[in-house]
């Protein structure tokens, strides 16, 4: 899927520099630097325990990284020019919205990252609002917009027409996403009642309802059968095309990774050991070594070979 022609036009969206996350003595992410480009589907792969989910949690504000900077630019990468001033000015962002805003994600609380920096995510062990209907799940995701439209509750309580309009729009948008993921017929059923694969799709739809610029998917294909995986691929490619979206993806299913990602970063022991297009990664001996492991007596040979 890597499209060489458009490579040049794709600029940086997310710059992660020197990211370190320690839990007591354990270094889960170790001086990781990483860049994701706007419009790309960037996959992050690596063996279990490589620090992928921790990396995600640092980006989406669920963990505060011990060290390092995570910067996200809206508009174009020109926005990164405001980064030094924001960094040393102790700010969380250069401006709160509009093109040219740059956000220092490591400084922001999780909900602000979703709300202002517009980074949405899904979870490895699905986290839906199980007792609420599919429609409600997608309406909750539009909380920021709806809450403002309801005049922070006061106007909504009084039944303002503008709020009713906003709500109707929100329902339309939810219905659109329910159609996209093929679950429109189950709009009024509780989310907890859905089969596993459908729950994964709903979680993606819920993330999309927050209007993200960057969508972080934590193992979206886990537990899906091959047909569902193929549908997921199609869905991700489609929403990327239609919604000016960039996607960050943690995945073990190499079928999904190789088919849809533009770029792949490989993590092992909290460090990035390789990065590049799917073809490059497939051929990279370090990746093969990290994934398959090598017998102890061959470690040095392999290390010499890969230049460590």
């Amino acid at each position: 899927m890597a499209d060489g022609a458009s490579d040049a036009t794709r600029d940086d969206l997310l710059r992660v520099e020197n990211l370190t996350m320690r839990f007591g003595g354990l270094v889960a992410v170790d001086k990781l630097s990483f860049t994701a480009r706007r419009g790309d589907i960037t996959a992050i792969i690596g063996p279990n325990g490589a620090g992928k989910t921790t990396f995600f949690n640092c980006i989406t504000g669920f963990y505060k990284p011990t060290e390092g900077r995570v910067a996200l630019a809206h508009g174009s990468q020109a926005a990164f020019e405001a980064l030094p001033a924001a960094t040393f000015g102790g700010k969380q962002w250069s401006k709160a919205e509009g093109a040219g805003a740059v956000f220092l994600l490591e400084r922001m609380p999780g909900f602000e990252i979703a709300r202002l920096a517009r980074v949405a995510r899904t979870f490895q062990n699905i986290r839906l609002f199980a007792g609420m209907t599919l429609l409600e799940n997608l309406l909750v995701a539009q909380h920021t917009v709806l809450n403002a439209a309801s005049g922070y509750t006061i106007g909504g309580l009084l039944g303002l027409a503008s709020f009713k309009r906003a709500e109707a729009e929100a329902i339309d948008k939810a219905a659109y996403w329910l159609r996209e993921i093929g679950l429109i017929d189950r709009a009024d059923d509780p989310a907890g009642d859905l089969p596993y694969g459908a729950q994964r799709r709903l979680e993606i739809a819920r993330a999309m309802c927050t209007d993200p610029v960057l969508l972080c998917l934590d193992e979206p294909a886990a537990g899906l059968n091959p047909r569902e995986s193929a549908e997921l691929n199609a869905l991700l490619l489609k929403i990327r095309e239609e919604h000016a979206l960039s996607i960050l993806l943690i995945e073990h299913d190499m079928g999904v990774v190789m088919q849809i990602s533009d770029r792949i970063a490989v993590l092992d022991y909290g460090q990035k050991i390789a990065g590049g297009t799917p073809e490059e990664i497939r051929a990279d001996p370090r990746v093969i070594a990290a994934y398959l492991g090598v017998p102890d007596d061959e470690v040095e040979d392999v290390e010499a070979e890969v230049g460590l």
Partner: protein
């Protein structure tokens, strides 16, 4: 300084009693994850059984105080243990894997019912028991005329608490019951798959908790010399506070929390105002929890994202 030492002794005595009750809360919480609100009432029942046992033993002619106390202790532990078992069997087991708030409500219901039951059958008036053990040591004759005293009763309470705690730690750490208990605490389903009789283990947890509460009940009775049907409510809340302060689920935490609450109360009452001693205890609990959300010795809860 003398005054301080005296308060320290009093605080440790009270704290021992709280600690013993707190263990019941913390054990039950650890294993079934519920607040056993009726545990204060179990303590109260333990105190009543101990009172009745002591009076009966005296009436039967067993007037040797140490023997009577020891026998009363055994009787109270056995019968209160049975009460603990019955309460679990009746009010909690049917709700074992249900909604979390349901057993909380049955526990509150049980608490109300037991209180009224005792008030009905034993009368609502308070029951004074003349001191069974008098005397003690005078540690220092202060110049200011203030004497630090350590009564025999206080020694008995602290020594008993230490002994019971030692036996109890041995039980939890070194016996197969303790292992089963810790296994159920970690993962009840897996423990069952590994052949642990979960029902029996949980029942025994309630029995042990109740037995410890009855020890506290007996000591409370002997120390203060008066009980009534309402005594379980206040002591229960304090002990629960102690369990949470120490970190609910942690056994050393419960004991530590109990001692701390006892000390805070006694010192506050001694140096400031007695009326606000409970406010002090509760405020310190709130402050500790705000900075250490899982208590002093509790395992911090890591939310896996």
């Amino acid at each position: 300084m003398d005054y301080f030492a005296q308060q320290l002794i009093n605080g440790l005595t009270l704290g021992s009693i709280y600690g013993l009750i707190a263990i019941g809360y913390t054990m039950v919480y650890g294993i079934v994850g519920m607040i056993n609100f009726a545990h204060g009432e179990v303590f109260m029942i333990g105190a009543f059984i101990a009172l009745i046992a002591i009076l009966s033993l005296f009436a039967l002619g067993i007037t040797a105080v140490p023997l009577a106390l020891l026998l009363a202790l055994v009787i109270a532990m056995a019968l209160t243990g049975l009460w603990g078992w019955a309460i679990e069997r009746l009010a909690y087991r049917p709700l074992r894997n249900s909604f979390r708030l349901a057993p909380l409500i049955t526990a509150i219901g049980m608490s109300i019912a037991l209180q009224t039951f005792v008030a009905l059958t034993q009368g609502a008036r308070s029951k004074p028991l003349p001191p069974v053990i008098r005397g003690g040591f005078t540690l220092s004759e202060g110049d200011s005329g203030f004497a630090v005293s350590l009564s025999y009763m206080q020694i008995i309470i602290i020594v008993t608490t230490v002994a019971v705690m030692a036996a109890f730690s041995y039980l939890i750490n070194s016996t197969s019951l303790g292992r089963a208990q810790r296994a159920c605490e970690q993962d009840r389903k897996m423990a069952a798959l590994c052949g642990v009789n979960v029902d029996r283990t949980i029942s025994l947890t309630f029995v042990i908790g109740a037995a410890l509460a009855s020890v506290a009940g007996l000591m409370f009775l002997a120390y203060y010399g008066v009980i009534d049907f309402f005594v379980g409510f206040v002591a229960g809340i304090k002990a629960f506070t102690a369990a949470v302060l120490g970190g609910i689920g942690s056994l050393p935490g419960a004991m530590l929390g109990g001692l701390l609450i006892g000390l805070i109360e006694v010192f506050w009452a001694g140096y400031f105002t007695a009326q606000y001693k409970d406010v002090a205890a509760f405020s310190i609990l709130a402050i500790v929890l705000i900075f250490m959300p899982s208590g002093l010795l509790g395992r911090p809860e890591v939310e896996k994202v």
